[in-house]
């Protein structure tokens, strides 16, 4: 009886855990492999990088001097990028093996466990006698509990495709970051940071990182649920029409161009004149002229400060937009667009 219990316990533990690995194995120290050649290549690349970056008087981290080199930051950048791109395929290769092992190992373990569980369930149906049925029942419960515990503790109750998708996503994110950083100079992205990114790329393809990222997803969704309780006061802004949108964006673009012109000595005067003409045109409208005289706007077409004229128009538009006064906004925006797009003398 003790033997049966012991066998049952060991069987449950063995079949339900499937001995999971948490990360891909990249052995950079294995001699006689291409990895070893890569290590030599990395050393040479680092030497070249440091010499191109710091010039002929520099002594690199391995004690070799840089005599004969000429400082060239563009070459240092090229060496850095080459070093990065030659290291990443090894991590990709190890990751591919890891994913296949993870998928195949867990599938096999689950298949064996399913067969055992179904077999035992079937046996329960055809077995006579209370005692054998009791033993099978207890064994089945223990086995199911063991599988559940393994899924919970080793895989945090996540299916393999979810974990692989998460790891793929993590890796893609780091890869994109590396690609973007490769465009930057060696001052902004030195070799140390590049190596740190290689490590980050490796870590992105581990189960541990997948679990933590999944936890973040849950936290994000919780935060989103909490956000739903926000109470927003104020006026409801209806969906904008295409015409109103184009006018709004067009006027904003006009004001943006006028700002550029105001900041350029060669075009400052003509931009100021355009702004004066806009305000003069608005002054002819009875309703708008009252707004122009308000203390917070306070502008006339006789003002000669282009920036002030522009700021006043922005303040007036903002005030109208906040209360959804579409009619006023359309009036102002049409005048802005017409005057700004008209040919200048």
């Amino acid at each position: 009886m003790t033997t049966i219990k012991l066998t049952l316990l060991l069987g449950v533990v063995f079949l339900s855990t499937a001995c999971p690995k948490y990360q891909p194995a990249v052995d950079f120290k294995n001699p006689g492999t291409f990895i070893n050649k890569l290590n030599v290549h990395l050393k040479d690349a680092q030497h070249n990088y440091e010499c191109y970056r710091f010039g002929p008087n520099h002594v690199d981290a391995q004690g070799r001097n840089c005599t004969g080199y000429v400082q060239d930051l563009a070459k240092a950048k090229a060496v850095r990028n080459e070093l990065l791109e030659s290291a990443l395929p090894f991590i990709d290769n190890a990751y591919a093996d890891f994913v296949i092992d993870l998928q195949a190992g867990r599938d096999r373990a689950n298949f064996v466990a399913d067969v055992l569980e179904l077999g035992t369930t079937a046996t329960v149906g055809i077995t006579n006698g209370d005692r054998p049925l009791q033993i099978l029942g207890v064994g089945l419960t223990a086995f199911r509990g063991g599988r559940r515990s393994a899924d919970l503790n080793f895989f945090k109750e996540q299916t393999t495709p979810v974990l692989i998708t998460k790891m793929d996503g993590n890796r893609a994110r780091v890869r994109s970051t590396i690609l973007a950083r490769e465009q930057t100079s060696v001052d902004d992205y030195p070799l140390g940071a590049a190596i740190s990114d290689i490590v980050d790329y490796y870590n992105a393809g581990t189960l541990v990182r997948a679990f933590t990222e999944l936890q973040k997803d849950t936290a994000f969704l919780t935060k989103q649920s909490e956000a739903e309780v926000l109470v927003r006061k104020g006026v409801l802004t209806p969906e904008i029409t295409k015409e109103a949108h184009d006018l709004r964006v067009g006027a904003q673009d006009s004001l943006q161009r006028l700002l550029r012109e105001l900041n350029d000595a060669a075009t400052k005067d003509s931009a100021t004149k355009v702004l004066q003409n806009i305000v003069a045109d608005l002054e002819t409208d009875k309703d708008v002229s009252l707004i122009l005289k308000k203390p917070e706007i306070n502008v006339t077409s006789h003002d000669t400060d282009g920036l002030k004229l522009r700021e006043s128009l922005i303040a007036m538009r903002r005030g109208a937009q906040l209360v959804n006064d579409t009619a006023l906004l359309n009036k102002i925006d049409q005048v802005i667009v017409e005057h700004e797009s008209a040919p200048r003398p």
């Binding site: 998708t165 998460k166 996503g169 993590n170 893609a172 994110r173 994109s176 970051t177 690609l179 973007a180 990222e213 973040k216 997803d217 994000f220 989103q224 956000a227 739903e228 309780v229 926000l230 109470v231 927003r232 006061k233 104020g234 006026v235 409801l236 802004t237 209806p238 969906e239 904008i240 295409k242 109103a244 949108h245 709004r248 964006v249 067009g250 006027a251 904003q252 673009d253 004001l255 943006q256 700002l259 922005i314 538009r317 903002r318 109208a320 937009q321 906040l322 906004l329």
Partner: protein
């Protein structure tokens, strides 16, 4: 200075929301900084948007996308960053009565 806005639940589409937000950016001379689900004083569902006063930006030129998971959002962000389209905000909004995950980027300046 933060300028709060709210949009109805029945926004016709993601493009409708984009146009409305771009219109607000243009009219307010402010940049969109957040989108989230909210309720109004009558307990009706609304989309709350916040804008921050900004001048000199490429205002009114946004890219709206729907995302599924945080992972998806991160991937989208990484792709857009390489195209010089920075992340504006990531949040939730009502589209045709349904709550959706929305991520927004600013178009690259020409």
């Amino acid at each position: 200075m933060l300028l709060p806005r709210k949009y109805p639940k029945n926004m016709s589409s993601l493009n409708g929301l984009r146009l409305t937000c771009e219109g607000d950016e243009g009219g307010l001379t402010a940049k969109l900084v957040s989108l989230q689900l909210a309720k109004d004083e009558e307990n009706e569902d609304v989309t709350a948007a916040d804008y921050e006063v900004a001048d000199g930006l490429n205002l009114g030129h946004l890219i709206f996308e729907e995302f599924t998971t945080e992972n998806d959002a991160n991937s989208r962000t990484a792709i857009h960053v390489t195209q010089h389209e920075p992340l504006v905000c990531k949040g939730r909004a009502f589209i045709a009565g349904q709550a959706r995950n929305v991520i927004v980027f600013r178009q690259a300046t020409v």
